[in-house]
């Protein structure tokens, strides 16, 4: 009887050793990170060049960055607690870069001169990098 019991215990211990211990659930969830648009200088102003009372300067026009980075909305693992779930990274998303500049429009005035600098225009230059996108999955 003792022998049977010993063998049984040994078998259980052996199985416990062979099988990997069940992974503990971290009880975390993914955190939402909103999309972000960031502008980087040096900034220009797409202003109208004018001369008033003998002084030349620019007025108006939008502020124009040299480049713009667009980070998509994504989820990150920041350790936020949620019972029974885990946060896992599952894909990468592209961070796009745009290059910006003032779009000039030349306007001929009544005296035959006059230049107006119009709007700041940004065009897609490609992918600057990636951010990891996480999701929340149930622990099994």
């Amino acid at each position: 009887m003792k022998t049977v019991l010993f063998i049984s215990i040994a078998a259980v211990l052996a199985l416990a050793g062979l099988c990997p211990a069940q992974e503990t659930c971290p009880n975390t969830k993914a955190s939402q990170v909103p999309a972000r648009i960031q502008d980087s200088g040096p900034f220009k102003r797409c202003s109208v060049g004018i001369a008033i009372l003998g002084h030349q300067f620019g007025i108006g026009g939008g502020r124009c960055p040299m480049l713009r980075l667009i980070t998509p909305a994504h989820q990150e693992c920041r350790g936020n607690v949620n019972i029974g779930t885990r946060c896992v990274y599952e894909q990468t998303l592209a961070v796009r870069q745009q290059r910006c500049g003032c779009m000039w429009t030349t306007v001929i005035g009544t005296d035959g001169t006059g230049i107006i600098e119009g709007e700041c225009v940004c065009v897609d230059a490609g992918t600057a990098g990636t951010v990891e996108d996480a999701s929340t999955e149930t622990c099994h």
Binding site: V48, H55, Q97, G109, I116, G126, A128, G129
Partner: protein, 476 residues
């Protein structure tokens, strides 16, 4: 004869001095030192009870310039019509009309101040065109009266003080437009709202905490061209007083990091640790570090702080003189120990000025696929690559599935897309070929194939994908 020459020279000098004194009259009782002090420490100006307009802005004796006397002041209806004309001329790109109407409005500073008065009292809310013209006129006034060779009146600083003092009474959204115009107003290459206005801006923010985020925008160029320890105490006070306002933190921390990095970099990192739940504030801190801390310390600090998304900060740092060496050194130190792959990825993102072979070296040797992909993205974004680069990309993609040195299909699409945009000739053709291969590969996930098609579309003929079906969807 000699005596006569000396006498003539003295007469000439006296005449020149007389002309100069008349051209640049000094207010009675104002010494040059006092004038300089006043310029450094702008204070609220007196109001002239007779006109309800700030007297100091009008010049030494509250009188307009001789040209203003030649023409009577604009009547209220003329003033409104000129403001509308300014807005119309600007919108229509009619520069001569814009100049003529602005000259009419700004020739007599009392008219310019009357515009401010109308805007402050909300009297233009029902006239959108005049409202736009008023904001434009005041921005032009601030700019004109603060040009280096402007002899006034009005005194440029006094006029700008009037405009700043009126801001709390200006309603949104014209308030934001006016703040933006003033913050960006320039005299030559320099911002008019420079460091000497810091105290005034802080005073405004303190007096109107509900408008502090808007007034913070006035700080945008205050720290421009900051040298040495100039304004150090004021920036320190700003940082201590405004630990939650991103613009105030960014400007003050940038100034302090450039003047005393050893003292303020640890503080910046501590502030960042506390600001993790506030992305705006956290970004302000990392941007200040990237733009202003010494490059080596900035590279190390940003590597410690990054969560893998601070592309702007690393791009800013990478564009600074000497930063490339700092980024390389930090990357090498981390790579040697196989540490912090996220930081390595971000350090590589800042190496836009790095040689192609160095980036290819990182792409071929770094143990982390994210870093390898970043090296290829940095090497191909906005710069022309050679065929060797394209071969490396195709080779890494061909090894997909090998965790040691592969490139995923999604990564290959991103890099090939960059190459298409920036590299003409053979490299572009090679990138097209790679993308077509990915798009046609039925063993890949549909999302990667669709991305490849999206990247290719601007570069191939419309019928390239005729009859293609991916994931049950016909490609149009």
């Amino acid at each position: 004869m000699k005596l006569l020459s000396v006498w003539i020279a003295c007469i000439a000098l006296a005449a020149i001095l007389l002309v100069e004194i008349r051209r640049h009259p000094r207010p009675a009782g104002t010494s040059p030192v006092a004038a300089e002090r006043a310029a450094q420490d702008p204070r609220p100006v007196d109001l002239d009870p007779s006109t309800d307009l700030p007297r100091a802005a009008l010049g030494p004796e509250g009188d307009p310039t001789p040209p203003a006397r030649e023409r009577p002041r604009l009547s209220p209806s003329e003033l409104l019509e000129r403001l509308r004309a300014v807005a119309r001329a600007y919108a229509g790109g009619d520069v001569p009309a814009l100049e003529a109407n602005l000259e009419d409005l700004l020739r007599d500073p009392r008219d310019a101040l009357a515009v401010l008065d109308r805007l402050r009292r909300g009297g233009l809310r029902s006239d959108a065109e005049a409202l736009r013209g008023a904001v434009m006129t005041l921005t032009a006034g601030v700019t004109l009266y603060n040009q280096p060779d402007w002899s006034g009146p009005p005194d440029g600083r006094a006029f700008l003080t009037c405009v700043l003092d009126a801001l709390p009474d200006v309603l949104s959204p014209e308030l934001e437009d006016l703040v933006d115009g003033i913050a960006e107003a320039r005299a030559g290459d320099r911002a008019i709202l420079d460091l000497s206005w810091l105290a005034k801006i802080l005073e405004l923010r303190a007096a109107h905490p509900e408008l502090a985020p808007t007034f913070s925008l006035l700080l945008a160029n205050v720290a421009e061209d900051l040298r040495g320890t100039e304004g150090f105490e004021r920036f320190y006070a700003l940082l201590l007083g405004e630990t939650a306002d991103p613009m105030a933190v960014k400007v003050s921390l940038a100034a302090l990091l450039s003047s005393q990095p050893e003292a303020f970099l640890p503080l910046a990192e501590e502030m960042f640790a506390r600001a993790r739940s506030d992305p705006g504030l956290a970004g302000a801190i990392t941007q200040a570090i990237a733009s202003s801390a010494p490059v080596a310390e900035a590279a190390a600090a940003l590597a410690r702080l990054t969560d893998g998304s601070q592309y702007l900060e690393f791009a800013t740092l990478g564009a600074r003189g000497g930063a490339l060496d700092a980024l390389q050194a930090e990357y090498s130190a981390l790579a040697a120990g196989g540490e912090n792959a996220r930081a390595r990825k971000m350090l590589v993102s800042g190496m836009a000025a790095e040689k192609e072979e160095v980036l290819l070296g990182i792409a071929g040797t770094d143990p982390d696929p994210r870093v390898r992909l970043q090296a290829l993205l940095t090497g191909s974004l906005g710069r022309e690559v050679g065929t060797e680069f394209l071969s490396a990309v195709a080779g890494a993609y061909g090894r997909r599935g090998d965790p040691a040195n592969d490139l995923s299909a999604s990564g290959a699409v991103l890099v090939a897309d960059n190459i298409l945009r920036a590299s003409p000739g053979e490299s572009r053709e090679g990138a097209k070929k790679l993308l077509l291969e990915i798009a046609a590969d039925a063993s890949l996930v549909d999302a990667d194939r669709f991305e490849a098609i999206a990247a290719l579309r601007p570069w191939v003929s419309a019928d390239t994908f005729q009859g293609w079906v991916i994931g049950g969807q016909t490609i149009r």
